[in-house]
């Protein structure tokens, strides 16, 4: 074992000890030292061993180019799993990697203890590899181009899943009675052990419950045209998206939490003067304000520090357990913080100038919360899968004040049509008027 590895192992041990002393409670974590190409690969795919698609290659190329030109640098990649995985860049200095390890510890603690992550698949790395194998098998069977075009269509609506489906109640307000579902191994059971035939066959005729936010799931189940392998691909992409949604929903609080703890942990380590200086510089870089933008590391970090100051550390751990970005900002962004961070609302005025139009803190807060709702994507739901009694798909954009990019909406509608095979409709608002976009497979129309 080389010296660097031994040194890092000692550092991990120490950092974990300090973190636990503060009350952090992460999953066990495996660290791996990787070259930059691998770092950027995992960074651009978001999971190691994921399926192939050109869009990942595009992201990879962009990241690598930025790195080669010295424009950006990823310091850490961490995977939500049990055990978790942390990746360390081999060209990092020991001190940089110590900071990364402490930061990763914060993330892994958050993965394990934040309620929004409770439903995530902690074996996603294995499952993603299985998905990759299945998709490459489909490429072999049906041709790479065919699978690629199909993935293009699926990925264009991948965000439209329902991460909160598990919160849904049965229609009468009670939870549905637990009857075992028929399974493929029933014939292995003795006849007297077989569950009584389900009585509820009639409910199937009533069709799916609507509206349905889970567009991917709806298409996988009800599309009139998809082949079995295509349904499988849709289901796999859906599962991976459900895994990622909690990360999209907790970007600010999660990065704030990890930054908060890396700074507290690093202060407890025995660092030389040089190392102290290097750490201070790095930390200042991570949690610096980006003027004209919004740095989630910085905003999250400042809000969490403010919570600790006002309510004490115990409250901080409560916040880590129950809040997402939306609720963190709604509950804890104060007038003082808005002023300190100099937050403002800006918009395009006269098609020409991006102008600050609002600085009243409650309005700013509400706009920020609105923009983060549904993790920043328009809320689209299936309103009808049998529109016109003709198996046409009717989607509804739940309009909350922001209009859609029409060119993109039409192109995405084309992809929906590919997946549904029959005409598709999207009800939305265009220039203040309720409008329904329609694509029938050859032509766009609207009314």
């Amino acid at each position: 074992m080389d010296r660097e590895v031994a040194e890092l192992e000692r550092a991990i041990e120490r950092i974990w000890e300090v973190g636990r002393g503060f009350g952090l409670d992460p999953f066990p974590t495996n660290f791996e030292i990787v070259p930059s190409t691998v770092m950027y690969e995992i960074g651009s795919y978001a999971l190691p061993g994921r399926y192939s698609h050109w869009s990942f290659g595009k992201a990879y190329h962009r990241m690598k180019t930025m790195y080669d030109f010295g424009l950006s640098r990823i310091y850490e990649v961490v995977i939500n799993a049990n055990p978790s995985y942390g990746f360390l860049l081999e060209t990092n200095s020991l001190l940089q990697n110590k900071l990364v390890i402490a930061h990763v510890m914060g993330h892994v603690d958050f993965f394990k203890n934040n309620a929004w992550f409770a439903q995530t698949n902690r074996r996603m790395v294995d499952d993603a590899a299985t998905h990759a194998r299945r998709i490459s098998e489909y490429e072999f069977q049906h041709g790479r181009k065919v699978v690629e075009r199909f993935l293009d269509a699926v990925l264009s609506i991948e965000e439209h899943v329902d991460p909160d489906a598990f919160l849904k109640r049965a229609p009468n307000g009670t939870t549905a009675p637990k009857t075992p579902r028929p399974g493929r191994y029933d014939d292995l059971l003795a006849a007297h052990e077989l569950p009584a035939a389900p009585v509820a066959t009639a409910t199937r005729d009533e069709g799916p419950e609507l509206p349905e936010k889970d567009l991917l799931g709806f298409i996988a189940t009800h599309s009139p045209v998809l082949e079995p392998w295509q349904r499988d691909v849709v289901a796999m992409i859906r599962e991976e998206m459900l895994y990622f949604v909690p990360q999209l929903r907790t970007k600010t609080i999660n990065e704030g939490w990890a930054s908060f703890w890396h700074s507290r942990i690093m202060r407890e380590l025995d660092l030389s003067d040089d190392e102290h200086l290097e750490f201070a510089e790095l930390h200042a870089g991570v949690v610096s304000p980006h003027t004209g933008q919004l740095n989630p590391y910085f905003v999250g970090y400042r809000i969490l520090e403010d919570i600790e100051r006002r309510f004490g550390r115990e409250r901080l751990f409560e916040v880590r357990e129950v809040e997402s970005d939306v609720s963190l900002l709604r509950n804890y962004l104060t007038e003082e913080l808005c002023g300190e961070l100099d937050l403002f609302v800006y918009e395009l005025v006269d098609e020409e100038e991006w102008t600050i139009t609002e600085k009243r803190w409650e309005r700013v807060r509400d706009q920020l919360v609105a923009n983060m709702t549904n993790f920043g994507f328009p809320y689209i739901e299936v309103a009808d899968g049998d529109y016109h009694g003709n198996r046409e798909l009717f989607l509804r954009h739940r309009f909350e004040g922001s209009e859609l990019d029409l060119r993109y909406a039409r192109k995405t509608l084309e992809n929906c049509q590919t997946l549904w095979g029959r005409p598709v409709h999207l009800e939305t608002v265009v220039d203040g008027e309720p409008t329904t976009l329609r694509y029938d497979g050859s032509e766009h129309s609207e009314d």
Binding site: L8, E32, V364
Partner: protein, 389 residues
């Protein structure tokens, strides 16, 4: 818990998908050649090998908000107040919409910019282009060299070993010596080598006469179109044919022969007398490029706004060009985004269409949009007539 260091040297997933992306970029370029061909960054590449061109079809489409119609939140330096301007929209994205309703159709700068190799674009553009009606002429033949592997020999260099034939020879020898056809140990006499010879394909003499209207009515857009056409034409002739002469003529009321550099950079003004250019072209042909010895290709770009009194003369000389040369190409450039019906009569193209007698060797196109340059190239340089390939 612990730290690992594994060997990732065989890992190249990112690279493979990067190649898939590159493949998509090439596909998209092929589909968008029309707009790429007349993109400024290429025409004005000025010797640079790689340029960036916008390609729309590589966007990853999603349901997303129109960011121009949305309110955003950001952070200031501590001193911002309502009314401060934080950024300005780039101006060029305006004025292209047809009514306010389509605002979402022009999201300005948000498409994918692909870095392309100018040579690669050139290769795609030139794929199907030829000098039309090319004939063998008597004098000063222009050789183009080509290497072909044509022969098999018993001696040669190892890198040219013909493995299949060597295997066959080995099996043959085994059959002769042992009575059974099978593969045995190799001996030097089994080995066969491929060898090449240089083929001299003779192309015929050719000259292209590039004429361009530089009168006052040729605005920025029209000059740009004419220059992008000639940019590609010159490049095409220089890459494909070893030695084609190109004569540059610019004209307003008078024509003069100019250098390539002057041709592409100089602006002029004044009225338009098209016949002046045709007369100069005919004079140059007679003096330096007799059609008995040369394949001659005159091309002319203009906005067709000729002096009315010159039209008869222009038609007469054009007829002479079309009857003596291999192909006379005329491109008429309309106003950018102007209605295409505006000049269907009265302009030179329609007059040529009505009154030229030698129409089989005349090719006329109309260009109203930058994207028409590529079709024009294809129209002029498509295969027709006799070909000596």
């Amino acid at each position: 818990m612990g730290v690992q260091r594994n060997d990732w040297s065989l890992q190249r997933k990112g690279q493979i998908d990067q190649d898939r992306h590159a493949e998509r970029v090439r596909e998209a370029i092929r589909q968008n050649l029309g707009s790429i061909v007349s993109n400024e960054s290429i025409i004005l590449a000025d010797g640079r090998k790689r340029v960036k061109v916008p390609i729309r079809s590589l966007d990853e489409y999603k349901f997303r908000f129109d960011h121009r119609k949305r309110k955003h939140v950001a952070q200031g330096d501590g001193n911002t107040s309502v009314g401060d301007v934080v950024a300005r929209e780039p101006q060029q994205s305006q004025g292209t919409g047809r009514g306010g309703r389509r605002a979402g159709d022009q999201p300005g700068t948000e498409y994918f910019e692909a870095e392309v190799d100018v040579d690669e674009i050139a290769r795609l553009v030139f794929e199907d282009l030829h000098l039309p009606n090319l004939q063998e002429k008597a004098r000063r033949e222009i050789p183009s060299r080509e290497t072909r592997f044509t022969e098999i020999r018993r001696t040669g260099i190892m890198s040219n070993l013909d493995k299949r034939r060597s295997l066959v020879e080995n099996i043959r020898r085994q059959a002769r010596e042992t009575g059974r056809a099978h593969l045995g140990p190799f001996r030097p006499e089994d080995l066969r080598y491929r060898t090449w010879e240089e083929q001299h394909a003779f192309e015929s003499n050719a000259v292209v006469i590039a004429m361009m209207d530089v009168s006052g009515s040729m605005g920025e857009f029209k000059k740009y179109v004419a220059r992008s056409f000639y940019f590609w034409m010159v490049r095409f002739l220089r890459t494909r044919y070893d030695n084609v002469d190109i004569v540059f003529i610019s004209h307003h009321t008078e024509a003069k022969e100019v250098t390539e550099e002057q041709f592409f950079t100089q602006g002029e003004s004044g009225g338009t007398v098209v016949s002046s250019a045709y007369r100069l072209a005919l004079d140059i042909i007679a003096a330096r490029y007799p059609t008995r010895d040369w394949n001659v290709y005159p091309f002319h770009f203009s906005d067709g706004d000729n002096y009315y009194s010159d039209n008869d003369e222009a038609v007469k000389l054009a007829d002479e060009l079309a009857s003596t040369c291999n192909l006379f190409g005329y491109g008429e450039i309309g106003d950018e985004e102007g209605p295409s019906y505006r000049r269907t009569t009265g302009a030179l193209l329609s007059i040529f269409g009505d009154r030229l007698r030698h129409t089989d060797r005349f090719a006329g196109v109309r260009i109203d949009d930058r994207a028409d340059v590529y079709p024009a190239l294809k129209h002029f340089f498509r295969k027709r007539g006799i070909d000596t390939d």
